[in-house]
């Protein structure tokens, strides 16, 4: 297997809304050409200039090319795909 990369923590742009429990939020991310959603602990969400970001894992390059897709490992599977892995536009992912 070639080019296996180390997972590192990243911040992924997302939209959030009220969760089912007080300590969580419903997260929606545009990925894989669709919107995917799941619940995440509040501690994984940060806000910067009114943009919410989710702490997740990826091997994204420090300076990914615009238009490139980055594979991200979510804290839990999405309802829509049943997978923790999503592909997100590089401009929506940044190293932690």
């Amino acid at each position: 297997m070639s080019d296996i990369g180390t997972l590192q923590e990243v911040l992924v742009e997302c939209n959030t809304s009220k969760g089912m429990f007080e300590n969580e939020v419903a997260v929606m991310i545009e990925a894989n050409d669709r919107n995917v959603s799941f619940f995440a602990d509040l501690s994984l969400i940060s806000k910067n200039e009114n943009i919410d970001s989710l702490r997740a894992y990826s091997t994204c390059a420090e300076d990914p090319k615009s238009g490139q897709l980055v594979r991200v490992l979510l804290p839990t599977e999405t309802f829509e795909t049943g997978s923790r892995w999503i592909d997100v536009a590089s401009q929506k992912v940044r190293p932690l």
Binding site: D3, G5, K18, V27, F39, D41, Y57, Q68, P75, E80
Partner: protein, 190 residues
């Protein structure tokens, strides 16, 4: 390999994973079992609304928001616990937050949520499927509780509701770093 109570303590002290609030330092005392650790019910019970005239299609987007908007949250106390009727299904979560981080150099750990034999004997299931807490997970644990028993069952905040069996992950979880280099669509480079 399943961790013993001693190994769970050792790993907590080494920071390989976290359980908050701390279960304490005595492996010979609750919440420790010989090869698991008890977790406790929080003060929130979520009851899905059952009067929705729709079917849920997971392939459609926005499922998480839909579920959040179509359930009722109940706060429970010792004086006002929740009475789980026969055949009723609710969601709950644990007091404890767990963290099985992937951001260190390892070793890495995952866990399984299991019910407790005392509750099982009463017909109480605390998870149906998907008991695995994967490496990389962080947060409280959501439980799917249903009563298959013979009587209404009282859910009280703080009761020992499930147990966590912790195992070491062999090898370091990785992903292909260059799989999507240069691509602009999931279909790949043509």
């Amino acid at each position: 390999m399943i961790l013993s109570n001693i190994e769970i303590l050792n790993c907590l002290e080494a920071g390989h994973f976290k359980i908050d609030p701390s279960p304490g330092a005595d492996p010979g005392k609750s919440p420790f079992n010989t090869s698991a650790i008890d977790l406790h019910l929080s003060n929130q019970i979520i009851v899905p609304k059952t009067d929705q005239p729709v079917s849920v299609d997971l392939s459609e987007g926005g499922i998480a928001k839909y579920l959040a908007n179509n359930s009722d949250a109940h706060s429970i106390t010792d004086h006002q616990p929740y009475q789980l009727s026969r055949h009723e299904f609710v969601l709950a979560n644990t007091v404890e937050r767990v963290s099985f981080s992937l951001s260190n150099d390892g070793p890495f750990f995952a866990a399984r949520v299991e019910g407790r034999s005392s509750l099982a004997r009463c017909g109480i299931l605390v998870h149906f499927t998907a008991p695995v807490i994967h490496a990389g997970f962080e947060g409280t644990i959501t439980l799917e509780i249903t009563n298959l028993g013979f009587a209404t069952f009282t859910l009280r905040p703080g009761m020992a509701i499930c147990q966590l069996v912790i195992e070491e992950v062999k090898g370091k979880p990785m992903m292909a770093s260059s799989q999507f280099q240069g691509q602009s669509s999931p279909a790949g480079n043509i």
